[in-house]
Symmetry: C2
């Protein structure tokens, strides 16, 4: 029974790693679509979101199956429920990458982001990518120190989000309202992507250390 | 055993009704804060979000306890897992009401929403309130027809969201970028509130009819 439980849990973990890798590639492609007005990259993100949703449903089915067959209790039960939380955060990160891609597509062939904002979005994308890499890493090989780094990465994202708003709200912003609003919403998508990653990371830490993870998604952007 | 399961499930359902009522009041107060620059209403929303999060944790604890003691299988198991999804959607709706309240507070004593937008936000708030009322209703007394109405309410919200953007992007928008961006983000908060309600409603329908609910949160605003 115990061995079966471990084997089942390993399959769930592997699905979470697959999801984490998929949402990392999704944001890479979304950023390419955004900064290079790359239509194909945007369409790839949108097409593949269904695959991410499919893995999410597989996690849920595997977990339901595991609960039914193994009836875990105590720590084992909490571990299984925590896996559901991580999957929900990762699924939402995939949606956010899709929002970035759709924004790029709506403006295509014009770039959705003007030259003045390309630097800050490039940096936000770099932080998002680092974060997604760490999530995939800690899910493959639990590491509480690495997971804890996610909080610092999220602070870096919040700083960039603030920089973005400083540009959008400066007196010499040369573009119109639509570009400004797109910039604000895109900033929010990257910032929320990081928030969900931090949340997923806290759940991973909980799995490793047994310390209570935050029950809710923190949402710490300067625009709230 | 069966009776115990029913009794446990009833407690979980009651907690969900409590959450639904709390997130309805939260958005009512957030709207009051927004449209009347009512500082006290905003602070109430922020203070009470912790109570909503607490009920969410109680749902999770009750569910974990129920799984451990009753080890439900098949439909019973799916019912219990669905309750977790509904709770997650409701918790997020509470966060969105809090975002509205915080935006109002940041601009206080100025109104965050200028006169030109008060009409459309009043209508969005009315749809949000109708939606929250229905969620609380179907959770207290399952009714698939009432839950299905949520899709139409969500369409109404999307239409209002489009109207909002038409005002924000019109050539004669007399306000600056900050007010425009606040308007866009506030619109997104109301629209996402409705999306999560629809999602929760689908889960309720699934509980009633056994028909598959959407596994992921639909996010159907015109700005994506």
């Amino acid at each position: 029974m115990r061995e079966e439980f471990r084997a089942d849990l390993h399959i769930v973990s592997q699905l979470l790693v697959d999801m984490a890798e998929a949402i990392r590639v999704a944001m890479q492609n979304a950023t390419r679509a955004l900064l290079r007005a790359d239509r194909e990259a945007a369409e790839t993100v949108i097409a593949r979101d269904a695959e991410i949703d499919l893995i999410y449903r597989q996690v849920e089915e595997r977990v339901a199956d595991l609960l039914a067959r193994q009836a875990p209790v105590a720590t084992d039960l909490r571990t299984v429920i925590t896996a559901l939380h991580i999957a929900a955060d990762l699924e939402r990160m995939g949606d956010l990458a899709e929002h970035v891609a759709k924004t790029a597509l709506r403006r295509h062939p014009s770039p959705a982001v003007p030259a003045e904002l390309r630097g800050v979005f490039g940096q936000m994308a770099a932080v998002a990518d680092r974060i997604a890499e760490k999530i995939a890493g800690v899910l493959s090989k639990p590491d509480a120190d690495l997971a804890a780094e996610l909080d610092r990465d999220d602070d870096a994202m919040d700083d960039l989000h603030r920089d973005l708003f400083a540009v959008l709200l400066s007196d010499d912003w040369p573009y119109g309202m639509e570009t400004g609003i797109d910039g604000a919403l895109l900033g929010r998508f990257y910032e929320r992507y990081a928030d969900h990653a931090v949340n997923a990371g806290r759940h991973v830490v909980y799995l490793i250390t047994g310390e209570t993870a935050a029950a809710t998604t923190t949402d710490t952007g300067p625009v709230e």
